[in-house]
Point group: C2
Chain length 118, copies 2
């Protein structure tokens, strides 16, 4: 797959994909002889994974470390711990969201009351 196809598939720009590869957020993408990127299934899976993680705010740094360890085929335990740490961060974030939503609900309710009165 070309970078253009991948960018459509995952709804992100080609620039972002190149940027991700450049900073090591995804492993180096295989190339054709002329140097053009040729995304295989593995590369696509990485894009999918990183896109998902980023959409929830998982930090780029953590992902870069994870990818590097995968590339080096090492740090099994560390890899697992990165995932666990990030999960913990997300769970905390979900809890924060929950309580903010509650607060918004409460305020919205208050406006409903106001409208009823008039």
């Amino acid at each position: 797959m070309t970078i253009g196809e991948v960018s459509e598939k995952f709804e992100m720009t080609t620039d972002t994909l190149r940027y991700y590869e450049r900073i090591g957020l995804i492993p180096p993408v295989p190339r054709k002889k002329n140097g053009i990127r040729d995304f295989d299934e593995t590369a696509c899976k990485w894009v999918s994974f990183v896109k998902c993680m980023r959409s929830s705010g998982v930090q780029i740094e953590a992902l870069i470390e994870y990818v590097a360890l995968m590339q080096a085929n090492t740090g099994l335990e560390r890899r697992k711990n990165i995932l666990i740490e990030q999960r913990a961060r997300l769970i905390k974030q979900a809890e924060t969201l929950r309580s903010t939503i509650e607060r918004l609900d409460y305020k919205i309710e208050h406006y409903e009351e106001l409208f009823k009165k008039n």
Copy 2:
């Protein structure tokens, strides 16, 4: 309350508090005769509200508009809609988080399996 006390109470820097006032994220804080900020209960409630919203990623722009309408004591309906829009954004975000966490769970599970084998 001084800005220093408020910053301790809400665990944010005095710089951030001044910044928030400057851009209209909280209404103008009452001042003593010498110009020093003197946070009253209303001001504190605003800080608390904005801190909560920002911790969940509610956009500054939306909050600024909301605060401005409150100050002008107008746009009742619009105010309610701002809150509803932001709630919708947060709910979407919570859903995204939930599915990312699931994906992480799955990957972590995979590492567990690997460790069991060895």
